[in-house]
């Protein structure tokens, strides 16, 4: 009995040391990683709609909330469009896509920011040959060609293509609803400043 207790204690000691080490490393690297992520997101937004100032908008829809950014020209403050991040489960991972659209909800450009799909097939979704297919499309056209839309699916990776396309379409619908609701409420706001 004593022998087994000793074994357990030794294993416990190893685990404690390992956990302490992990906790320590985590505490110093976490803020750095978060900062890098935020900076990357900023860079990606800047790339999609250049020369703009972004304003974050968070909307509560029931349990979930959606976040999107309103882009205005840095100089003229004119409304240029919106950016947002959409995500959906693809073939083997959660595919996260950042997208920008103009004020008429037409896609300006997309960038797949996070994915772990099959290399050589689904992972090709980060390629510009795939992402540029989305440019200029309206929400109605955002569907894989097999489902009757305009996006030609990547060879051998229909599921990934669907994940990107459908996540964008659904997210645009949410953003559009909110923007339109706000626009409808706008005159009232002007009356009572």
């Amino acid at each position: 009995m004593k022998f087994y207790l000793k074994l357990g204690l030794i294993l416990l000691a190893f685990c404690i040391v390992a956990t302490a080490l992990l906790a320590y490393v985590n505490s110093i690297t976490k803020p750095k990683i978060a900062a890098i992520k935020i900076k990357e997101a900023e860079l990606a937004r800047e790339e999609l709609i250049p020369n703009s100032a972004f304003e974050e908008v968070t909307v509560k829809t029931g349990k979930d909330s959606i976040v999107y950014y309103v882009a205005r020209d840095k100089a003229t403050k004119e409304l240029k469009g919106y950016t947002f991040t959409a995500a959906k489960i693809g073939y083997s991972s959660n595919v996260k896509t950042m997208a920008a659209m103009d004020k008429d909800f037409r896609i300006l450009g997309i960038k797949v920011v996070e994915q772990a799909e099959t290399p050589g097939l689904g992972a090709n979704c980060t390629d510009s040959t795939f992402t540029k297919k989305f440019r200029g499309l309206t929400p109605d056209q955002l569907m894989v060609d097999k489902d009757g839309g305009k996006i030609q699916s990547m060879t051998g990776a229909t599921i990934t293509t669907r994940a990107v396309t459908n996540s964008l379409r659904e997210q645009i619908a949410l953003v559009k609803k909110d923007v339109e609701a706000k626009l409808a409420a706008l005159p009232a706001q002007e009356v009572t400043p």
Partner: protein, 196 residues
């Protein structure tokens, strides 16, 4: 056994992929392109060297009965630390290798070498073993990936090899392509060995 011998045995004679047949999961998963293969190989080599040294250091304080759980804790902790450090300090490298790091935890080459070698040998030899085995793993992955990428994508490490008119054989990139390539390569190696 001399240091040099420990270093070179992993390359061909005891190649972890083709001869010992360890770590098949990452081999099949990441050999779709040469860049991925080298990335995975390097990340695995790094963790393998570290874990070999560590295991060799603690071999005298670990009771035999609980050595496997201890190794698992050590390796998993190492991988997580490497992952976080890379994400924080070398984000560019993490972007290209980050995909493979969680895969390393399940790479049985690392546990295999800890169990078969590092817990019986001194630190220096374990270091040599780790480097050699890692290099052998990288080499094997690269060879498999060479065939798969050229056939399945017409490129090698991103450079176009096949003419533009080449219609890529997509199956080479899929799981059956990995199994067939690996099987054919192993058969070829065994054939060459028999001839000797």
């Amino acid at each position: 056994m001399s240091f040099m011998k420990e270093l070179t045995k992993g390359l061909i004679k005891e190649n972890p992929t083709f001869v010992i047949v360890l770590g098949m999961c990452p081999t099949l998963a990441t050999s779709t392109s040469v860049n991925n293969a080298i990335g995975m190989g390097m990340a695995a080599t790094f963790v393998l060297v570290c874990s070999n040294i560590m295991i060799s250091l603690i071999k005298n304080v670990t009771p035999d009965k609980i050595r496997i759980p201890v190794y698992v804790v050590v390796i998993a902790a190492f991988v997580s630390i490497v992952d976080m450090m890379m994400a924080a300090y070398v984000p560019d490298l993490h972007k290209s290798l980050g995909l493979f790091i969680p895969l390393i935890v399940v790479n049985c080459i690392i546990l295999g070498r800890a169990e078969a070698y590092a817990n019986k040998n001194n630190v220096l030899n374990s270091l040599a073993d780790g480097i050699g085995m890692g290099a052998g793993f990288t080499l094997a992955l690269t060879v498999v990936a060479t065939f798969r990428e050229i056939l399945g994508n017409g490129t090698w490490a991103g450079l176009r090899i096949m003419p533009q008119t080449y219609d890529p054989m997509l199956m080479a990139l899929l799981a059956p392509g990995a199994f067939i390539t690996l099987g054919t390569l192993m058969a070829t190696i065994n054939l060459l060995k028999e001839k000797k």
